[in-house]
């Protein structure tokens, strides 16, 4: 069957062309930014494109004014290999140069904060763990810490150190994923395989301890779900021995390599003033030279008992973001070595019958224990009224949890301050007046996890 040209055109008309460039007039509708205040801290704020879908569609039909003076609106994503999932960017281009841009998000929004209001505090971790799926243990940790602060329970030392161990191992896995995707985005495709190869080994350890590669639901209010399995120390040591030579290989493959440096140095720079004004946290903030790490500044768990350095960059460019994450893996290895030396003995969860279910063996012999077990898992435990905000340092920045409890077993309001969401705000500033190929480097250096951005 042949398709006539008319039928072909009709077919095309039916489908809205997603990646078709549309013409934007130079006088694109633009709400002026409010004047005054502290906005001078953002010299490149004109690079933020503020345009709705409707306005963008209108621009498509606008008549061409002058070919040489006109910018073009190009859509990038949401399913683009270098956008880390479903990030979509509206780019206003002048030739190859990005003039203004707007990150468009929400494609992965599943209403997890709403869901969190109907899950008990014990079930809450199964929900939050699915937000930042590259660093799930941090989400569980922040929710557990907030719940424990509301409950005012103190968890045993071993539980604290197990949490630290698991989180640092998870940080290594998360940064290895960054190494892989960062390399892939910039054309070092073999790096993708290397990063994933190492990450898989780390995940194998997490799987052995928690039962799952991701979405562990291992850290829970009151401690952790289970004690470390037999032989865990050897497994951790194996990872710690395996990684340093591999990181040396990364150095050879990327850090010292002229093409890699050319590709990243001076690309997507951010000044410390801009980073602070935009509430940027984590490696992106540290890349601008501000030594901010919650583990160091307001130690939680037992981070005040381990020795590690906070790494900072000097230029705030994509190379600094890369180098900081690479060396944070080394710092995490250092921390894990100290955790192995200091891991105390004792309970892995608090022996507070209000929060903790009875041991499995007791259920077989005691009716009360069975009832207790049943009540905790069906009704949940009641958490005293109050509100609390707890923040930790996730691989991506300040991960916060704001909990409001009305005294019932479910949170009245559960809000997660997602570092990826807030860090996305720096993208238009980083990409301003850069090439579209460098925009990819900027996105990659922010390392957004869309599950966390959209929640």
């Amino acid at each position: 069957m042949t398709i006539t040209p008319e039928a072909h055109d009709a077919l095309i008309d039916d489908v809205a062309p997603m990646d078709e460039p549309v013409v934007a007039s130079p006088t694109a509708t633009r709400v002026p930014d409010p004047e005054g205040g502290q906005l001078d801290r953002l010299p490149r704020r004109d690079a933020v494109l503020r345009m709705s879908e409707v306005q963008a569609a209108e621009q498509a039909d606008a008549p061409l004014i002058d070919e040489n003076q006109q910018t073009m609106l190009v859509n990038m994503g949401p399913s683009h290999p270098s956008t880390h999932g479903v990030l979509r960017l509206m780019l206003e281009m002048d030739g190859e140069t990005v003039v203004r841009s707007k990150p468009v998000i929400g494609y992965l929004h599943t209403g997890m904060e709403k869901t969190g209001e109907s899950l008990t505090f014990l079930q809450g971790c199964t929900n939050t763990t699915r937000m930042d799926y590259a660093a799930p243990l941090f989400n569980e940790l922040v929710f557990s810490l907030a719940t424990e602060k509301l409950l005012d329970v103190e968890i045993p030392a071993r539980a604290t150190w197990i949490r630290m161990l698991m989180c640092e191992v998870n940080r290594i896995a998360s940064h290895l994923l960054f190494m892989a995707t960062n390399g892939m985005d910039l054309g070092a495709v073999s790096m993708m395989i290397y990063g994933w190869r190492e990450r898989e080994q780390v995940l194998r350890f997490l799987e052995k301890v928690t039962g799952l590669r991701m979405n562990h639901n291992y850290i829970r209010p009151g401690g952790v779900a289970a004690d470390l399995p037999d032989g865990w120390r050897d497994d951790v040591l194996h990872i710690l021995e395996m990684l340093p030579p591999r990181l040396e290989e990364y150095d050879i493959l990327m850090t010292g390599q002229p093409i890699w440096r050319e590709r990243l140095q001076g690309v997507g720079t951010l000044s410390p003033e801009e980073a602070l004004a935009l509430s940027i946290t984590g490696p992106v903030l540290r890349s601008t030279g501000i030594a901010r790490d919650i583990r160091k500044d307001q130690p939680y768990l037992a981070y005040d008992e381990v020795d590690f350095d906070v790494l900072v960059g000097s230029y705030g460019d994509s190379f600094d973001c890369y180098a900081i994450r690479l060396n944070e893996i080394r710092e995490s290895i250092r921390i894990v070595h100290q955790i192995l030396d200091k891991m105390p003995k004792g309970d892995f969860r608090v022996q507070d019958t209000k929060v903790t279910p009875p041991p499995r063996a007791r259920i077989d012999e005691s009716m009360e224990a069975l009832i207790h077990h049943f009540k905790i898992f069906t009704e949940g435990f009641k958490v005293p009224e109050g509100e609390v905000y707890v923040a930790i340092e996730s691989p991506r920045g300040e991960l916060g949890c704001y909990l409001v409890s009305d005294g019932s077993p479910t949170p009245y309001r559960m809000h997660i301050r997602a570092p990826s969401l807030v860090n996305l705000q720096c993208l238009p500033h980083k990409m301003a007046n850069g090439l579209v190929a460098d925009a990819v480097a900027s996105i990659s250096s922010v390392d957004p996890i869309m599950g966390e951005v959209d929640r």
């Binding site: 709400v31 002026p32 930014d33 409010p34 004047e35 005054g36 205040g37 502290q38 906005l39 801290r41 953002l42 704020r45 503020r50 709705s52 879908e53 409707v54 998000i105 929400g106 929004h109 209403g111 904060e113 709403k114 869901t115 109907s118 602060k149 509301l150 005012d152 103190e154 968890i155 604290t160 602070l276 004004a277 935009l278 509430s279 940027i280 946290t281 501000i290 901010r292 500044d297 009224e385 109050g386 509100e387 609390v388 905000y389 923040a391 916060g400 704001y402 409001v404 009305d406 005294g407 019932s408 009245y412 309001r413 809000h415 301050r417 969401l421 807030v422 996305l424 705000q425 959209d454």
Partner: protein, 173 residues
């Protein structure tokens, strides 16, 4: 985890903060909370910025429509349906402070902090998207997570949670 300060208890620095910003200060599980009248939301943020509060880390809201127990608020603060909450941190000593303001259902607006802490941009949009609270002076207050044409504000308590009806099969006879 060693948390000693009890809720609503007076801590030594409370008087200082209270005098400095002119708004009641309480402590929730040891965390400093400043209760700001809605009209002074922006000016208080300006005062905090001038006092070296480095970063606005978080801004969100709570809908107290179906909140059971009587809400504990300091004298002079009348409870309203919505509460906008902003968390700030200072880097020099690591202190955190939380600003809370009551926003009535009949007029859900509050000043935007964008001009003082531009990092509030996305989170104010998110709060607008989820609660329908308008931030006056925000340069682009539009939906961020939900589609632009979405009707309703999902995180309000009177917005039903989405459910998929599951039909169970009866026993085979």
């Amino acid at each position: 985890m060693t948390d000693t300060a009890e809720t609503e208890e007076t801590a030594p620095s409370e008087a200082a903060s209270e005098e400095r910003y002119g708004h009641p200060v309480t402590y929730s599980r040891g965390q400093q909370v400043i209760h700001v009248p809605r009209e002074q939301w922006r000016s208080t943020a300006e005062a905090l910025f001038a006092d070296n509060w480095t970063m606005l880390t978080d801004i969100t809201a709570v809908d107290f429509l179906s909140y059971g127990p009587a809400r504990k608020l300091p004298a002079g603060i009348a409870p309203e349906r919505f509460e906008v909450v902003a968390s700030l941190v200072r880097f020099d000593n690591g202190d955190r402070i939380r600003m809370r303001t009551q926003v009535p259902e009949s007029d859900p607006t509050v000043d935007s902090l964008y001009a003082i802490y531009p990092g509030s941009d996305y989170q104010e949009r998110e709060t607008y998207d989820m609660f329908g609270i308008t931030f006056e002076g925000h340069p682009d207050l539009s939906r961020i997570l939900m589609p632009e044409e979405w009707v309703g504000y999902p995180l309000r308590k009177d917005f039903a949670q989405g459910v998929i009806p599951v039909q169970f099969k009866g026993p085979q006879t």
